[in-house]
C-alpha cells in the first residue's frame, strides 16, 4: 500500500504574481468555507444532544413527582407510578452486571496477560468485538430460544442472562485496554520478587488497572440500563409488583416502550418521566465513569 502524502497540495507561487495572488485567495476562501462547515457540523451535533435533553427535561418534569417512585404501574386513568419498572430495571441491570463482569474481566485478563500475540487470542478478541456491536435484539432472541422456550415462560432470570451477555464484551474491552497500559517493568519486578503469576495479576495488575476496570463496569451498567430490545423477549414486563426473578419482570425501558406507543395521555406522560430518569441515570454513569478515569491520571 503506497500512501501519497501531499499529492494534492498546490505548488508554490507561480511566476505570474497576479495568478499567484488569485490562487492564494481562492485557497484561503476554500479553507475558510471548510472551517465554517466544520464548526457548523459540531454545532449541529451539539444541537441534537441539546434538543434531546431539553425535550426530556421539559416533558419529563411535567409528569415527574414522588408518586412515580411510590406507586406501581396501573391502568390508564388511575394514577399509577413506575415503582415496579424502576426496581425491576435496577435488579436486572445489577444482576446482569454482577454475572457478566467476572467473566469479562477473566477474558480481558486472558487477552492481556496470557494471549498477547497468539492466534487464539486474536480470535477471542475478534469474537468479543463482534459481540460488542452485534444487534442486541438478536441476543434477546437467542436467550428466548435457550431460556424462555425450554423453561416454559418469560422470566427475570432470562432478562438478567441477556443483559449479562451484553455486559461481557464491554468489560473485556476495557479490562484488556487498561491492563495493556501497565508497563512490563512492573510485571518483571513482581515476578522478580518471586511472586507467582496469578498473584502478580490479581494484586498488582488488577490493582493498578482498577480505576479503568471500574470505568468499564460503570459503562456496562449504563449500556444495559437502557437496553429495551433484549428484554422484550426475555423478562417481557409485568404490571404487578414482583421481585420474583422466576416470573416475568417489569423494566423501565420496556414500560416506556409500551406507554409511549399507547393512546393515553397519562401513560405517555409517565413514559416521558421514565425516559428522563433513564437518561439522567445513563448519562450520569457515563460522566462518573469518565471522572473516575481522569482522577487516575
Amino acid at each position: 500500500m503506497s500512501i501519497t502524502i501531499g499529492a494534492g497540495i498546490h505548488p508554490g507561487p507561480r511566476k505570474d504574481l497576479k495568478v499567484a495572488a488569485a490562487l492564494g485567495r481562492r485557497r484561503r476562501r476554500v479553507d475558510a468555507i471548510v472551517r465554517i462547515l466544520g464548526l457548523v457540523a459540531m454545532l449541529v451535533g451539539l444541537a441534537f444532544l441539546a434538543s434531546i435533553l431539553l425535550t426530556l427535561a421539559y416533558r419529563g418534569s411535567e409528569a415527574m413527582g414522588l408518586s412515580i417512585f411510590t406507586r406501581v404501574t396501573a391502568p390508564p386513568g388511575s394514577e399509577g407510578g413506575l415503582l415496579n419498572p424502576i426496581v425491576g430495571s435496577l435488579m436486572q441491570a445489577a444482576l446482569g452486571t454482577a454475572i457478566g463482569t467476572p467473566v469479562g474481566m477473566l477474558v480481558g485478563t486472558y487477552l492481556a496477560e496470557y494471549a498477547r500475540g497468539s492466534r487464539f487470542g486474536d480470535l477471542v478478541r475478534f469474537v468479543s468485538d463482534i459481540l460488542l456491536s452485534a444487534p442486541s435484539i438478536l441476543i434477546g432472541l437467542f436467550v428466548y430460544t435457550i431460556l424462555v422456550m425450554p423453561f416454559g415462560g418469560f422470566s427475570g432470570w432470562a432478562g438478567v442472562a441477556a443483559l449479562a451477555i451484553i455486559v461481557i464484551p464491554v468489560v473485556v474491552r476495557t479490562t484488556e485496554d487498561m491492563l495493556s497500559l501497565i508497563p512490563n517493568t512492573l510485571r518483571e519486578a513482581v515476578i522478580g520478587l518471586g511472586a507467582p503469576k496469578w498473584k502478580m495479576i490479581v494484586f498488582v495488575c488488577w490493582k493498578s488497572a482498577m480505576s479503568g476496570i471500574i470505568t468499564g463496569i460503570l459503562l456496562a451498567v449504563a449500556r444495559v440500563a437502557g437496553e429495551t430490545a433484549p428484554l422484550l423477549f426475555t423478562s417481557l414486563g409485568n404490571n404487578a409488583w414482583s421481585v420474583d426473578l422466576t416470573r416475568p419482570m417489569a423494566s423501565l425501558p420496556v414500560t416506556i416502550y409500551a406507554y409511549a406507543g399507547s393512546p393515553f395521555e397519562d401513560w405517555i406522560a409517565l413514559a416521558w418521566a421514565g425516559a428522563l430518569l433513564i437518561t439522567l441515570g445513563v448519562l450520569g454513569l457515563n460522566i462518573l465513569a469518565r471522572s473516575v478515569l481522569r482522577g487516575r491520571k
Binding site: R35, T55, S128, S133, L138, F142, P169, P253, A260
Partner: protein, 323 residues
Amino acid sequence: MSQAATAATHPPATTRRSGGNVGDVLFEWACRGAAVLVLLLLGAIIVELFLAGLPAFRAFGLPFVWSTDWDPVQEVFGAGVSIYGTVVTAVLAIVLAVPLAFGIAFYLTELAPPWLRRPVGTAIELLAAVPSIIYGMWGFFVIAPAFAHYIQPTIIDTVGELPLVGFLFQGAPFGTGIFTASFILAIMILPFIAATMRDVFEQVPPVYKESAYGLGATTWEVMRSVVLPYTRVSVVGGIMLGLGRALGETMAVTFVIGNANRISTSLFGPGNTIASLVALEFGESEAGSLKFASLLALGFILFVLSFLVLAASRYLLRSRLKA
C-alpha cells in the same frame, strides 16, 4: 524461608514454583475457560438462530430471502421487504452521518481551541450513550411532527419536482417513514463514526502535518492531502462500524419507520426493518409456528449481515487497534 532461598539461587523465576503452581494453573485455566465461553457464546447464537429459523428456510427455500410476501393469514412469509428496509435505512443513515461526523472530527482535531476539545468531545460521545428507546421517543414526538409539518412538505415541493430523483421524495408527508428512520439512525451512529475519525486523525505523526504547513498549506489542504490519505483505511473502518450499528438498531427505528410491509418507491413512505419487524411481531407469534420460525430466520439473516459488516470494519481498523 525455603522459598526465598530458591528464589535467590535460581535465575528470575517465572511460574514454575512450588507455592504458586496450583494457583497459577487454576487461574490460567479460569481465564482460558472464560475466553472459550465467549467463543461458544457467539457460536451458540449463530447455531440457535439458524436452527430456530430452519423451518422457515425449509418451507420457503432460498426465495425466502427476496420474497416480499408477509401474510400471517395465509402463512406465507418472505424477508425481502425488511431486508430492503434494513439496508436502505442503514445506507441512507451513513450518507447523512458521514459528512457531519467528518466535520465534527475535523473541528475537534484541527480547529477547536484545546480547552474546548475535551468538553465538546465528551458531549458528542454522550450522544452515543443515550439509549435507543429515548431516540425513538424523541424521533416520534419531536422529529416526526417537525418533518411532517415543515421539512417534508418543503422537500416534496422542491426536490420532489425534479426529474430522475424526484420520485424518491414524493407522497404524503406523514412525518414517519424510511427517511425519518434513517435520519434518527444517522444521529445515533454519528458519535461512533466521529469518535473513530477523531482518534485516527490524532494518530497522524505531527511531522507530516508540520511539513505541509511549512510549505504553506492551509488547514483544509493539510486535512485533505495529508491527514485523509494517511488515515483513509481506518476512516472507512469507522464508517463500517457505524453501518454495522445502524443495521441492527431496533427501538428507535420501530418508533418512526411507519411499520408497513411493502416497498415504497418514495423515501417518505413507510417500511420496516428486520429488527423492527421482529420487535413488533414476535409477541404475536406462537412458538413453533411458521411465523415464529420466519422471525428467527430473519434474525439469522440480520446476524449474518451485521457480522460481515462488523468483521470488515475490524479488518480495516486493525492498524488502529494495534497502535
